[in-house]
């Protein structure tokens, strides 16, 4: 399981004096899909921001392919092949759908993903390519955010709150598209509130509670009861 693809070792993160993560350790293997679940305020987004460099850490706390990346800037980490679909989508409102996608591809990593591949995955985006990104519905915006992250041809894709604030039918569409995205051998970390979906789509699952890992296990074998204990801390 630990092939040194992504290793997080005793990660502690702070917002000023407030400590949000306590000694979080976690591994993601090459081609592995890992789900991160946990209640609001458990530290899931903090964990994503720490991995992608939006929060800075000690260098050795995050290692990617053997390289200590904890101290790098977000843009440097992005060029190494880590790409995030951020919570709340964070599209660029004054750019069109297509320009948002092009921005995602500007680091110039080679791979299967380009404008055409993204449009094949989400045909609706092709129809709306010239529209302002904020004129789209929430679900379509999430598709742009996913497409934008894919355009970087990442080796590790991080989904932060993949289904937050979306209608159930849109969540279904996005989950149906997931195998087409991560089926190609890409590793992924998926942050999700919906435990059933998180377990179905992942190989392994981590549960965070109040900034600590409260459960780690294989998604196939972990029991419902263990999860709800870890989730609520009862």
């Amino acid at each position: 399981m630990s092939d040194g693809f992504l290793e997080i070792d005793a990660l502690s993160s702070y917002y000023g004096d407030f400590q949000a993560l306590f000694d979080v350790s976690m591994q993601v293997g090459e081609g592995e899909v890992v789900a991160v679940i946990g209640a609001n305020g458990a530290g899931k987004t903090t964990l994503m921001r720490s991995i992608t460099g939006l929060l800075s850490n000690e260098a050795a706390m995050v290692r990617y392919r053997g390289q200590a990346i904890g101290g790098l800037r977000a843009d440097q980490i992005a060029t190494l092949g880590l790409s995030m679909v951020p919570e709340g989508r964070q599209l660029f409102p004054s750019l069109s759908v297509e320009e948002n996608l092009i921005i995602g591809g500007q680091i110039g990593r080679r791979g299967p993903w380009g404008l055409e591949a993204v449009y094949r995955l989400f045909p609706v985006l092709k129809e709306r390519r010239s529209q302002q990104s904020t004129s789209l519905s929430g679900g379509q915006q999430q598709m742009v955010a996913i497409g934008r992250a894919l355009m970087a041809n990442p080796d590790l894709l991080l989904f932060d709150e993949i289904s937050l604030g979306l209608a159930p039918i849109i969540i279904k569409t996005i989950y149906e598209a997931l195998p087409g995205i991560i089926g190609g051998g890409m590793s992924a970390i998926i942050v999700e509130q919906d435990i059933t979906r998180a377990i179905n789509v992942s190989h392994r699952v981590y549960c965070l509670q109040e900034g600590r890992v409260s459960l780690e296990g294989s998604s196939k074998t972990v029991s419902r009861e263990a999860i709800s204990n870890a989730y609520f801390g009862v």
Partner: protein, 359 residues
Amino acid sequence: MSDTQQYAIDRFSPASRIAAVAALVLIIALACGPWWAGRADMRLLSELFLYMALASLWNLLAGYAGLVSVGQQAFVGFGGYCLFAMTMFFGIPPLMAIPVAGVAGALISIPVAFLIFRLRGAYFAIGTWVIAEVFRLSAAQISALGGGSGTSLPVTIVKSIASSRALREAASYWMALAILVVVLAIVCLLLRSRRGLALTAIRDNELASQSLGIDIWRAKFFVYVLTGGLTAAVGALIFLQKLRISPDAAFSVNDWTAFVIFIVVIGGIGTIEGPIVGTIIFFLLRETLADLGALYLMILGLVAIVIMLRAPKGIWGFVRQKTDLDLFALSRRVVTRKKHQSSHANEDNKGEPHEPQTT
């Protein structure tokens, strides 16, 4: 989607196509200025061109790179002093001295950037002003250039531009027009490039663009050095026309920053057209109201307040919101190439549910 249509990406809309042709005609007409305009008109137009150039540069800096500097007079004055020093001490011809002043401005902006890029927001703005004051006080120490009271450009240098007065005035008019065209072309090309897309993304959302691999520091640094250099070149030309320089005039926060910010804000920040519209309005106001003295400045302030309240994106932002006009062909748009049938192509996806958006 039906296969009866093909899409292509085109930056040009009909409006921007017409605007491009009109701009070309206008530039040619303006270039013929010495044959149809009087001496006073030419002087006024030169000044307008130079303000338009300064406003376009400040707009690039503040409207696109998010660097709200109130110290661009540092570069205007630096360029002016460079021109005087180079022509008077080293005998460089004035026409040559303008691009050299631009390069010098870009070079000096590098250490300045390293210094002030540590500051954010309001602190950055104040920092740029402090730097400009340091420039002003330093210029006042150069006794060879008249110290605090300044100096005039020697007659021999003035005459080296052209022998007759009419020709000199024409040359200075053409230079102002040329530098405006150069500045607008550079701004336009930059914003159309991939780097320009990245700049717009940074302006929209810094965190998101950073996590997509955009080096924000480098993008801003590039814009700062570019505008620093071009602002210095414009400054050199401004003081070549004035023929006299002093620290207070060269590093005036009123003339080179306050008026410029006024122009960009009323015209529409973050659009290429904004500074152009703003400059024209500013000059119209100035030419019609300047006789009113202090009242003129109060009216300027009132105009700025009303526009900021009624149309926060400036006059051009207001026009664009109403008409979707885009004269400079910056944004990509999709054009439909019709094959056999047309129309109902976009109907298919209209029925799709639009769930409420949350962010």
